[in-house]
Amino acid sequence: MRDYNKLIFEISREGRKAYSLPKCDVDTLPVDELIPEKYLSSTPTNMPEVSEVDIVRHYTNLSSKNYGVDTGFYPLGSCTMKYNPKINEVVASYDGFRNIHPLQPEETVQGALEVMYELQKALGEITGMSEVSLQPAAGAHGELTGLMIMKAYHRERGEDTKRTKIIVPDSAHGTNPASASVLGYEVVEIESDKNGDVNVEKLKEAMGDDIAGMMLTNPSTLGLFEPNVNEICDIVHAAGGLMYYDGANANAILGVTRPGDMGFDIIHLNLHKTFSTPHGGGGPGSGPVGVSEELAKFLPTPTVEKHGDVYTLNYSKPSSIGKVKGFYGHFGVCVRAYAYILSMGAEGLENVSANAVINANYLMQALKGTYKLPIDRLCKHEFVLGGIENDNGITTLDIAKRLIDYGYYPPTVYFPLTIHEAMMIEPTETESVETLDAFISAMLKIAEEAESTPELLKEAPHNTPVRRVDEVSAARNPIIKYT
C-alpha cells in the first residue's frame, strides 16, 4: 500500500461517521436560547466525514510511509535516536498517570508528584546539579529557560543591562544563538581552533563585563570532548559570566563525568535523546533544566518538594522567573524517562556511554579511509565526516539519499556549519556491532558507486514512497493546507 496517495479529505463522504457518543440525557434548550446568535458560527468546520475503517486504514497506510527507530538503524547525529523501550510506553499509559488532571488536589496525585521528585533527583545526580525543573517542553525550551535564569541572576545583581552578550562557539547548534537572541542578547561567536575545540585565546579576548555567559555543548557537535572545559569555565566565571551546558550530547558522558563537576551553572537535558523517550516525529520532547545551588531560587514555579512523606507543589518562590509552560511540563514524557533510569540503574547508564562511544569510534575508524574525516581524533558519541573525494560532483546529500536505498535513515547532513559537506553520524549504544558492520558495507559500496555509477547516487532514492521533492516551489508558492 506504499502507493496509497489519498488525503483524508479526499475520502470524505457526507453523512459518514466514525464516532459514537451517548445520547444527551439532560433537558436541552435550543442553542440560540443558551447563547445569543451573534456569538454563533455560521460556517461549517469542514472536517472530514469518514468511517472508522477509513480512519484506521488511512493512518495505517500513512504510518507505512514513515521510517522510525523500530524500522531500522537511524544514525542521525546529535539526535540520539536510540531504541525507545516498549515498557516505557506501557507504564506511561497506566490510568493513574495518563488520566489525572493537573489541577487535582495534591493528595490525589501523590504518585505523580513522587515520580517528578524522584526524576528531578536522579537527573540532578547524573548531571551534578543541585536542583532540577522538569517544566521546559523541549531542548530549545530548556535553553530559553536556562538563559532566562541567567538573565534573572544578572538582574538581581543589577547587571542585566550591562551584561548583554552571550558567547557561543561557531560549531553550536543553531538553537543556541536563536535562544540567546530571543531574550535580547547579542550573540558573540567564537571560532573553533583547527582541532575543533574552543579557541581559548579568542575566548579570553572576548571577555569583558558585558558578558552574561557562555553556552557550550560538551561533547561538542563534532562529537569531541572539550579538553579545556575547566579553563573555559574559569575564564567566563572570572569575567562575571555564567556557564550554560547544552545537554544535547549527554549520552556520551553518563556516569563518566558531570557538567556540574566541570563548572557549569545551568544545564538542560533532552529526555527524548539521552533518556530514551520517543521523538514522536517531532515531539513531544522534554528539556529539564538543572542549576547550581546559588541559582535554584530562580527555577520556574511550581517546584516539586517533599516534606516528610508528602509531596507538594510550591508556587511561592519570590525570585523565580515564573512559569515557562502550562502546568508542570511534559509529565507523560517524564514518566518514561524515570522508568528508563530505573531500568538502567547506575551501571546500566555507564554502559550506555561506553557503548555509544565505542560504536561511534568503531564506525569512524572504518569509514575514515574512504570518506574525509576533517578532525581525526578519539570521538565521543558521534563524529563528523566531510563528504567524499570524487570527480563526479557527488555531494553529501547524494550519499545521504543513496543510504535510504540501502534501508538506512541518513545521518544529519550539512551540520555543523564549520565542516564542509558535513555528515554527522551518531550510532547510539542500542545498535549491535553487526548493524554497524552492515552500515559500513553500505557506506563503502556507496563510495564505489560514487565512482562507477554516480547517477545511482544523483537520482537516489529510488524505491521510496516519493522521491526527491521540489523544495523550491514548496517555498515559493506555499500550499500549507488542503483546499
Binding site: Y414, E471, V472, A475, R476
Partner: protein
C-alpha cells in the same frame, strides 16, 4: 558572473543604479548565484528612512536567508512589488530586478562604493 558597467557596487554584493537623486538597489549576479533559487523576499515599507549599512530586506532561498544592506542612506520611495510574487526574477535577471528605490540623503556616500572594475577586482579576490 556578469558585472554590469555603470553601476556602483558594495562588498556585500549589492548594486546601486543612480538616476538623479534616486538610487535603485539590487543584488549582484554573484549574490543570486550564491543564494541559489530565491523563494521569498521581504521588502521594507515605502517611507522608511534608513542609514547606509542598515539591513533593508531579507532574501530567502530554501537553505539560506541573507540580509540585504543599504549601500547609501535614503528614504524608501519605491519597492518592487513584483518580486513579492515572483522572487525568481532576481535569479533570472539580477540587474534588471531592483529591490527598492531610495531618495538619496547624501550623494557623497556614493564615493565610498566600488565601480564595476573595482568590484570585478574585489570579486576575483574575495568571492
Amino acid at each position: 558572473m556578469e558585472i554590469k558597467k555603470g553601476l556602483y557596487y558594495t562588498e556585500e554584493n549589492e548594486w546601486v543604479r543612480v538616476e538623479g537623486n534616486k538610487a535603485y538597489i539590487g543584488i549582484t549576479d554573484y549574490a543570486q548565484d550564491a543564494l541559489g533559487d530565491i523563494v521569498y523576499i521581504e521588502l521594507p515599507d515605502v517611507g522608511d528612512t534608513l542609514k547606509a549599512g542598515d539591513a533593508f530586506s531579507v532574501v530567502e532561498s530554501v537553505k539560506a536567508a541573507s540580509d540585504v544592506f543599504l549601500p547609501v542612506s535614503g528614504t524608501v520611495i519605491e519597492i518592487n512589488e513584483e518580486l513579492e510574487d515572483s522572487p525568481e526574477l532576481i535569479n533570472e535577471d539580477p540587474y534588471g530586478s531592483w529591490i527598492i528605490a531610495v531618495d538619496l540623503l547624501d550623494v557623497t556616500e556614493l564615493d565610498e562604493l566600488m565601480d564595476a572594475e573595482a568590484y570585478e577586482e574585489f570579486s576575483s579576490q574575495e568571492n
